[in-house]
């Protein structure tokens, strides 16, 4: 799921390009992408359609129903599948809304970090010279800092809020994308098609956007899918420490952190959201692996 990251572009053979055009269902690897993507899509839909799945306020306090175990029938006849928490709030509702927050944060931070990192990396690799030196120094400096330690410091600085979590987690990840994009740009700018474009009088921007970017995209997409799981874990860890999503908003990290005080008499508050989260992160990881195998045919697991 992590670690064995993608290689910079510029090394794929023509076979790779051709097989990529075939529909997903046609190959074994493509079907694996679809199969693992289904779980992910289900979670995404549950998150997006949260108010439909949970047509009541997940933060509705009902003290008379507090600390009910999973599957308990409440007084109004409804069944609390995952039980209720210390204030009688429905845990299932919190988990669904937590999925919403988790998907939103992971998705947006990967897009923001991916786009900014790619832009910086391509620019550095393509222009070279002083720009490259400065940008590479910046990337190296950031990578010398353990990412989550930086996130904890930054989050403490700007205070807990949804927007701030997105900002923080974007800041800690752009450098990885920048390094990969720069490697691709360095390899690609020496290729004949770039030279040809330049000979035809294409501007720098055109070469960057129309020639380098499309050819550097595959490893970046692979990296992005692998980063989603990491960002979900990072958001939950920040929220657990009280530095992420602020208290009443339902986030997996927040719910688990609250359940910590009730481990003895209500084990489900802390354990159920974590189990759901593990399953989601696992399926995101499997999806990332499937995407990598599909897009990078030469990778042998």
């Amino acid at each position: 799921m992590r670690g064995d990251g993608p290689r910079p572009a510029g090394q794929d053979g023509p076979e790779a390009a051709r097989s990529r055009r075939r529909p997903l269902v046609a190959t074994r690897k493509g079907r694996r992408v679809l199969a693992t993507g289904v779980v992910l899509a289900a979670v995404a839909v549950a998150g997006l359609a949260g108010p439909l799945v949970v047509p009541y306020n997940p933060l509705g306090v009902r003290l008379e129903e507090r600390l009910r175990p999973p599957g308990a029938r409440l007084r109004d006849g409804a069944i609390a599948i995952f039980g209720t928490d210390q204030l009688g709030r429905d845990l299932f509702g919190q988990v669904v809304h937590g999925a919403r927050v988790s998907m939103l944060v992971a998705g947006s931070t990967v897009v923001i970090a991916g786009c900014s990192g790619t832009a910086v990396g391509l620019l550095a690799g393509f222009t070279g010279g002083r720009t490259d030196t400065v940008l590479v120094a910046l990337v190296d400096l950031q990578l010398a800092f353990p990412p989550l330690l930086l996130a904890i410091l930054l989050a403490a600085m700007i205070g807990p809020s949804l927007a701030n979590v997105i900002l923080t987690l974007s800041v800690i990840r752009w450098a990885v994308f920048a390094r990969l994009a720069r490697g691709s740009a360095l390899a690609l700018r020496e290729k004949e098609f770039v030279e040809a474009a330049r000979a035809l009088g294409a501007s720098q921007y055109r070469i960057l956007l129309a020639h380098l970017l499309p050819n550097a995209l595959t490893p970046l997409v692979i990296l992005a899918t692998l980063q989603i799981a990491l960002q979900m874990l990072a958001e939950a860890a920040l929220s657990f420490l009280g530095l992420g999503i602020p208290h009443p908003l339902p986030s997996w990290g927040v719910t688990i952190s609250q359940g910590r005080d009730y481990l003895q008499n209500a084990w489900w508050i802390a354990t159920v959201p974590g189990a759901v989260m593990t399953l989601v992160v696992l399926s995101v990881g499997l999806f990332g692996d499937a995407v990598r195998d599909y897009l990078d045919p030469r990778f042998q697991p």
Binding site: M1, P146, L241, G259, R260
Partner: protein, 292 residues
């Protein structure tokens, strides 16, 4: 590199909202008292001056005094260091032993049931949020079975749950890598030659296979140090382990700038130092690599 890290930390820490002077004096402080306290702490000076003073202090090893306890921040950090080192060392040791064991077991018969089981386990290990795993372990082994203590530091038994929690994710990553490494090296010609000349299987594994896959393994362990650092902060918080990670979290909550600066810089420096150590290990492992 360390200079840059120090600068980043200074900038981030000084922009944390909330006035430490106000926090220190409590809710009943008057505006004059707070202003006086700010002047005493040097917080009324321009940022550039604060930065220069800070750099001078760092150069002479003086990190200022904790706003909270009044003791030198660096002394507090050093006091917490052994606990963190103990935890990290235990986690790394557990990771190496278990991942080599599991990785070898999986690589012995590729695509066997054991291989698949270990593969699934290592994926799950990477997907589990460590703070949640910590709570589950406390629930099972400390609260329900009452085999192990749930928090604090002291006997070796106190170390078990935090170390396990911290290492599970690393074990997941490393097992996968070690399996792949063994499978790749085992297919090499020199391994076939070693077997063909009648070398016993344990000797083939240790002298030819393990030795040659050590470099990628060490590289990977180096790359994982970053997540180990993050894990230390979270796991120490879960288990109330009196180390640097918990110090960082409590110091941030107390707005104790000198302690935050000292502890984060110290951890970051430790991280850079360990990475250097990883690079130097290459030369020891592979005689072809020389640093000039």
């Amino acid at each position: 590199m360390i200079g840059g890290v120090v600068t980043i930390i200074f900038l981030i820490v000084r922009v944390i909202p909330g006035d430490p002077a106000a926090v220190l004096l409590g809710t009943h402080a008057t505006a004059e008292l707070i202003a006086e306290q700010r002047a005493k702490m040097g917080l009324d000076r321009p940022l550039a001056v604060q930065y220069a003073l800070f750099l001078r202090q760092v150069a002479v090893g003086d990190w200022g005094r904790s706003y909270h306890e009044g003791r030198p921040a660096f002394a507090i950090v050093l006091e917490r260091l052994p606990a963190t080192l103990e935890l990290a060392a235990a986690a790394i040791a557990a990771t190496l032993v278990l991942s080599v064991l599991l990785g070898s077991l999986a690589a012995r018969r590729i695509q066997s049931t054991a291989d698949y089981a270990i593969g699934v386990l290592s994926l799950v290990g990477q997907a589990i949020p460590n703070f949640w795993l910590g709570l589950v372990l406390i629930l099972v082994f400390a609260r329900t079975l009452r085999w192990l203590p749930s928090f604090g530091r002291g006997t070796p038994w106190h170390l078990v749950l935090p170390a396990v929690t911290l290492s599970v994710q690393l074990i997941g990553v490393m097992t996968r890598l070690i399996r792949a490494g063994i499978v790749e090296t085992a297919g090499q010609d020199y391994v076939r030659t070693a077997r063909a000349k009648g070398l016993a299987e344990p000797a083939v594994m240790t002298r030819h296979v393990y030795r040659n896959m050590l470099i990628p393994v060490v590289t990977m362990l180096g790359l994982q140090l970053g997540s180990l650092v993050a894990g230390v902060v979270v796991v120490e918080t879960v288990f109330a382990w009196p180390g640097l990670g918990r110090l960082i979290v409590t110091a941030i909550n107390n707005r104790d700038y000198p302690v935050v600066q000292a502890s984060v810089t110290f951890v970051a420096a430790l991280f850079v130092g360990l990475n250097l150590l990883v690079d130097l290990t290459y030369a020891a492992l592979d005689p072809r690599i020389r640093y000039t």
